[in-house]
Amino acid sequence: MNIHAVKAIFMFEMARFFRTLAQSLISPVLSTSLYFVVFGAAIGSRIDQVEGVSYGAFIVPGLIMLSVITQAISNASFGIYFPKFIGTTYELFSAPVNFLEIVAGYAGAAATKALLIGLIILGTSFLFVEVSIAHPLAMITFLVLTCISFSLMGFIIGIWAGSFEQLQLVPLLVVTPLVFLGGAFYSITMLPPVWQVISLFNPVVYLISGFRWSFFDTSDLPVVLSLFAIGGFTLLCLAVIGWIFKTGWRLRQ
């Protein structure tokens, strides 16, 4: 195991994060705070409780997930796409590292950034709404697993992308709808039965449901199912990345 290499990639990526703090940290925190103001404090006060929780508090886990997923994907995809774009990947391929070390460095840094942003947003939410955390350990576990798995997914997107447009495409066209329709703003039990069934095919539903359970001790779906879903998703992403490095798909000419 080339620990120095993992550390080098990790530190290099984190340096970019701190260099562009305004864009990488302040903007996601600010935009999520606006959700808290609008849906939590302003409109939320006129909405009934959902599953026994005030609406303002109810949307907190979903909004954290929305930011964390978006950030994990965009950081990880940019992290590997940029070296590919400027042609510095030669160094990665000629270095004494294997794919797990490269992924650990890039996805690890992206996951750390996403986790930091998630925690800051959680802290910010206390300013606007009353939130309690029923299962702190489970909450952290869900958060960390989400950061990791979507960073892995972002890494894949970064390798797949052939242009900056494509880099934006998946987050915009796939991830945002999945999160919005994944119960970030509502409980899926509020949907008509047909849509409830359709929702079960949306992987984000399991994440948000499990994450929300760790806050309020109520969930749409069994928590174990949520854990299995995110664990399976992580393994799937790892397998895809392993295949990419083995075949050199989109990496080597």
Binding site: N2, A8, T88, F93
Partner: protein, 311 residues
């Protein structure tokens, strides 16, 4: 001499059937500078990429410092530094950070004293906190070298280090290479400038169409180059070479007007004076004389063309 790089029957072909490398074998000893000469598309970069692990070989074996590049890839790659042809660098990064990154990536613990030494050697120390995008082209190339040296490799590949570089910078680069050699690094560089190979290499290899046509001590090649030819033009054509001139091994042109004499410039006696007096004693009248030197360029062009004709 200890071999640092051993390439054995290395082949690389692509899915479309194109053979970029056709059975290349090569041994490079510790401490030497080898220049690989070849036209564009000859396979120079493919060879380097394959040795460095960027391209997967179709078959064959590569050992660096005795370590197989596939089986013991970590040990093998830790010994190698690569300076690519294209200047590809993170534009917003600072020089010192990108060099530090390279050292870590190749498995070495942080050592800022070592990095200072490398940056000073390349006259980059004053620029260590400069963003890469603010550097000139020549400086960027030095950054690439600094990155490749950051983990203290024993074998350094320089892929066309002076492509598109002006004369002054090229001389600069030659000095850098000489300095690196003095510090004990083995260097393999590719170039299509023959004078560059002549100026800095110990051995010269010629590669074309994926094959090593020759690899030879530079001095030996120079000796071949040391051959000169004297063309003696006659006022009137002759049918045969006069018997008196037989010992000179002359060549007679088809029109019978030119005699060509090949001699070694380094020999104590070239035989030119004697030849010229024998020519006039044989009753031939001189119109003009001219000398020609066969350069490495000629040898190179001949080799490459001979190869093309066979193909």
């Amino acid at each position: 001499m200890q071999p640092i790089l051993e390439i054995d029957d290395l082949r690389k072909s692509y899915a479309d059937g194109f053979e970029a490398l056709k059975s290349v074998s090569l041994t490079i000893n510790s401490g030497e500078i080898v220049a690989l000469l070849g036209p564009n598309g000859a396979g120079k970069t493919t060879l380097i990429s394959t040795v460095c692990g960027i391209t997967q070989p179709t078959s064959g074996q590569v050992r660096i410092g005795g370590f197989d590049t596939l089986r013991d890839f970590r040990a093998a790659r830790a010994l190698v530094g690569l300076v690519p042809q294209e200047i590809n660098l993170e534009p917003f990064e600072r020089v010192i950070n990108t060099v530090r990154f390279s050292r870590g990536l190749f498995g070495k613990s942080r050592d800022d004293t070592k990095l200072e030494q490398i940056l000073r050697q390349l006259s980059l120390w004053d620029k260590r906190d400069t963003q890469i995008r603010a550097l000139s082209g020549g400086m960027k190339r030095r950054v690439l070298i600094a990155k490749a040296l950051a983990h203290e490799p024993q074998l350094l590949f320089l892929d066309e280090p002076t492509a598109g570089v002006d004369v002054e910078l090229r001389k600069d680069m030659w000095n850098i290479v000489a300095g690196l050699k003095a510090s004990g690094v083995t260097i393999v560089l590719t170039t299509h400038y023959i004078e560059e190979a002549e100026a800095i290499a110990d051995r010269i290899g010629v590669i074309a169409k994926g094959e090593m046509l020759l690899i030879e001590e530079k001095m030996q090649l120079m000796r071949r180059m040391g051959q000169k030819q004297l063309d003696v033009q006659l006022s009137s054509a002759v049918n045969d070479i006069p018997a008196r001139l037989a010992k000179y091994n002359l060549l007679l042109s088809n029109d019978g007007l030119t005699l060509t004499y090949t001699y070694d410039t380094r020999a104590a006696r070239t035989g030119i004076t004697k030849l010229l007096s024998d020519v006039s004693e044989a009753g031939l009248v001189l119109r003009d004389v001219a000398t020609r030197q066969s350069s490495l360029e000629d040898i190179f062009v001949d080799l490459v063309h001979a190869e093309e004709e066979i193909a």
